[in-house]
Amino acid sequence: MISAFIGILFDGLAYAMILYIISVGLSVTMGMMGFANLAHGAFAMAGGYVMVTLMQQLGLPFLATLPLVFVIVAAISVAFERLLYARLYRAGELDQVLFTIGLIFMAIAATTFVWGPLPQAVRLPPYLMGQVDLGFRTFPTYRTFLIVIGAVLILALWLGLERTRLGAQVRAAVDNRRMAESVGINVGRLFTTTFALGSGLAGLGGALGADILAPTPSYALEHLVYFLIVVAVGGMGSIRGPFVAALLLGVMDTAGKYYVPDFGAFFIYVAMMGLLLWRPHGLFGRA
């Protein structure tokens, strides 16, 4: 009983790390530019595919692919941001939603064309398989690895945001874009940088979590609702909010699948509706 409960918390935490790493970039994008980028999940999908391709075609080890995934996905996202997204910053929310849905459809078709319609099998290195003994009980190594690396990333992210110049600029631009511009911050360039970092993180999350959320062409559409829940419930523009939301979602989803496999998703939507009606701007969002 207790053991199952701990297991659920543990799996939920690992899942939450993936959800958070993927979604945090979306939260900042929406908070800073008010841009509803529904295609954010496509960058996470790209991360998964890039990793699989690097491992299979070039024979790179799993860990070595991760920094490459980050850089490659971030570079791709800059091209998209400059060529396409930048045209729509002043457009209405509906235009942004439609535009990014269009991008999702194109991403699905392109991925199917290159890699085929089936999910990609991820071959984890042997040291990530099996169980690890933490003294009082054993845990799956892969999920332990996810939690550790997720914690390190989150710590780096928070420190970077609180302690670096770039972080201060990002916080200023999210708080009040015009004011930030008038004190001399080039918000346009800052946004490109942030967009690249956020997309790179999403790609990294997609690669890290490939064994939980397998790379498949419809990835961006299948998991879209969960990424959006993390941002909407957490509060757009917030860094901490999405983490709390991801934790809630990860644990609830895992517990739901374990205890009430028939109604798990249903309860999540009920909880989300309740939370959003109670706090329309999310847990940590501001009006």
Partner: protein, 327 residues
């Protein structure tokens, strides 16, 4: 001399000959020797669905990612009534489905329309997804993932049986769409309809001049839900089959894309969009589903970047150019 504002308002209501063109085309198509009437019926049903969305999105500016909720409620209302209650008379069942969907529109409208932006998107989407979960779990009632089968529908007016060529379905759907179009046209040209446009343009100002914004939004949401429900019921009756898809995010997205592709806030965009979308899907899917996906994605991106008014917006621009050259 400039028109008096009231006359200008009335002029918008007057029927222009061009407005009869879609109906002439739809009637003409029926008599073509090689007409694909099942596809035609599908187009008419989706045009009605898109028309219902136009009232909410195009005229009032409410962005919904879950309009399939009402389409699905209508489809299941008509399907379940025929399957379990023996309510096989089609026209009254259609009205019943519209009423049920409209009531659902009032309830969910009062809840979700209090929010804006991303939150509104999420809530509209959540309503549809929850309904789909419920329909899936009530397998003994709805057939779950296998779909609701064994629906029997009486002949329309006791005279016209639903035949395998889809003749009855086509005419039936066309008449229903025509009636719905008259209703929608009356609404958008009424003072209530102008109030909706005001809400779309600036809701704060509308409430400042004393317009009951929330009540109007809920009202139009319910009317739109009822029309969407009728469209869903038409689908259930013409195919005698209801699947979980009618409540899916995919359907919500498809209808949104059709409307935007055709041009929103102009009633006829729904007709043009549904036709182009479904004909293109039919043709491209024959080659490969991936082509269709890429094609519609590209079309959507191009529409947003270069043709905000949709297809009919492009027609307007072209006509204005031609007129400009003449004068």
């Amino acid at each position: 001399m400039a028109l008096h504002p009231i006359d200008h308002f009335a002029a918008g209501h007057r029927l222009r000959p061009i407005e009869l063109l879609p109906w002439a085309l739809a009637v003409g198509y029926f008599f073509l020797p090689n007409a694909n009437l099942p596809l035609g019926t599908e187009i008419l049903i989706w045009a009605l669905f898109a028309l219902s969305l136009d009232l909410v999105l195009g005229y009032t500016g409410i962005v919904s990612l879950g309009h399939a909720a009402f389409f699905g409620i209508g489809a299941y209302a008509a399907g379940l009534a025929a399957r379990w209650l023996g309510w096989t008379e089609p026209i009254s069942a259609l009205l019943f489905a519209g009423l049920v969907a409209g009531a659902a529109g009032i309830v969910s409208g009062m809840i979700v329309l209090r929010t804006h932006g991303l939150t509104l998107l999420m809530l509209t989407m959540a309503v549809a997804v929850m309904l789909k979960e419920i329909a899936n779990k009530l397998g003994w009632l709805t057939g779950g993932a296998d779909g609701l089968q064994g629906i029997v529908i009486d002949p329309v007016l006791g005279l016209y049986r639903f035949d395998m060529f889809g003749r009855t379905s086509y005419v039936y759907a066309l008449v229903v769409l025509f009636l719905a179009w008259i209703v929608a046209r009356r609404i958008v040209h009424s003072p209530f309809g102008r109030g909706l446009v005001g809400i779309r343009e600036n809701a704060t100002r509308m409430s400042a001049i004393g317009s009951p914004v929330m009540r109007r939004m809920v009202t139009v949401y319910a009317i739109s839900a009822a029309l969407a429900g009728v469209a869903g019921a038409l689908l259930a009756q013409s195919t005698r089959y209801v699947t979980l898809n009618v409540l899916s995010l995919e359907y919500s997205g498809d209808v949104l894309i059709m409307l935007v592709l055709g041009g929103m806030g102009r009633l006829y965009g729904a007709f043009a969009g549904a036709t182009v979308f479904l004909v293109l899907r039919d043709e491209l899917s024959k080659i490969s589903p991936a082509y269709w996906g890429f094609g519609i994605g590209l079309l959507l991106v191009a529409t947003v970047l270069f043709a905000r008014g949709g297809l009919l917006g492009l027609v307007d621009i072209a006509l204005a150019r031609i007129r400009g050259k003449r004068s």
